[in-house]
Symmetry: C2
Subunit: 209 residues, 2 copies
DNA sequence: TAGATTGTTAATCGATTAACAATC
DNA sequence: TAGATTGTTAATCGATTAACAATC
């Protein structure tokens, strides 16, 4: 892998490629050209080849790409075979929904634990994930290697909680709090799911059709 | 408003501006320059002025922008004062979490109803939103003016359900199904929340730090 | 009036698309 | 071998940034 200066736009397309290739696999498609992949995804063949070439040479002239092989390569680039470890903070409705339904293992994540302040959920478990008290958070993080923390907590405590975790060494945050989080450390990564931003762009587009 | 050829990148920044300005309002800030707004948001002043100029002239030379006024303008552009009507399809964990916690009214939406197939939820209500049977969906849509449908249903029925709704005249979809939906009609708008894509980009970034 | 800051035009930068030699 | 399709270099397009006259 060369992977220097990979633009954000390229990185954001990788999961889509991965998803499309997974689908092609399940449909039993063995090989595909950049041209036909592009048709299915509404992307130019040029862009596809350009994107892939950031990471290596996965195709073969005159043939195209082996679907299964390419899927594995992109999965590898995305880190799905890294077995990252993840912890969830905040098991309200949303946290509960994610624990119950989101296929963490498909994306290479193992959910080790969840934490909450509410006595009614502490001590229970959802989908085999044990829910502990927030009081036990610091020691848990210190004793385990946690790659990503899911923040499904109220806005008001979002940045403070993030800071506390950053101090403990956490470097990846999947942020559902609708607050823009930040850190002075450049190696701390935030990935935001801003529900409101998303719905507002839809609002704009239906209002200005 | 001129708003011709507004790029997607600009549109996606509007909710962030709106969020920041709401915050500034609540902090009692009365005026702000593009320069200081840019500092707070990690955006160049040029880009901010360029973005705003797509929609009109909201500032004053030598002064900057009135925070409250600018917030109202951007809210108006986004359509938060349009009182859009919305219906949710699928009240599982995620749908339930959204009904319970998401501040639809802040983004200018009224949730009129939710629909599900499960007899255990049909007839109940969440946060004053009544949950009806999927059998009653078609007639409901015909009798009400529904601007946006939230899809919190299984992948397997996503495209079929969308097609059914498009036939009934629905033109806006907030799609949580992790499936790429499409329609032959260009005025049908899909806004996707792809949880898996989001987590995979985070996976990439922590793997390639 | 002098200083600050806008809206806009021009310059730069980066991302997408087109073209094509290499080669399976 | 001939046809197809890659990986890559060059051309184009669009988005971001810089500069500056207008003006509050």
């Amino acid at each position: 892998m060369k992977k220097e200066n990979i633009s954000d736009a390229v990185i954001r397309r990788l999961p889509r490629y991965y998803r499309q290739l997974t689908d092609l696999c399940s449909r039993g498609v063995v090989r595909i050209s950049s041209h036909s992949l592009g048709q299915e995804m509404n992307i130019t063949a040029s862009q596809i080849r350009q994107d892939f070439s950031c990471f290596g040479e996965f195709g073969q002239q005159g043939y195209g790409y082996n679907v299964e092989e390419l899927r594995a390569e992109i999965g590898h680039i995305l880190g799905v075979d890294n077995n990252h470890h993840l912890v969830m903070i905040g098991v309200g409705n949303l946290g509960h929904a994610l624990l119950q339904n989101f296929p963490f293992s498909n994306t290479g994540f193992t959910v080790d634990a969840a934490f909450d302040v509410s006595p009614t959920v502490i001590g229970t478990s959802v989908n085999d994930v044990p829910i502990y008290s927030m009081n036990d958070l610091d020691s848990f993080i210190r004793e385990h290697s946690v790659d990503v923390v899911v923040l499904t907590i109220p806005q008001s405590v979002a940045q403070d909680t993030a800071n506390r975790l950053i101090d403990l060494g956490v470097r990846g945050f999947w942020n559902f709090t609708n607050v823009e989080l930040s850190s002075p450390f450049p190696d701390v990564k935030f990935e935001n799911i801003h529900f409101a931003d998303s719905l507002l762009t839809l609002s704009y587009r239906i209002a200005n059709r």
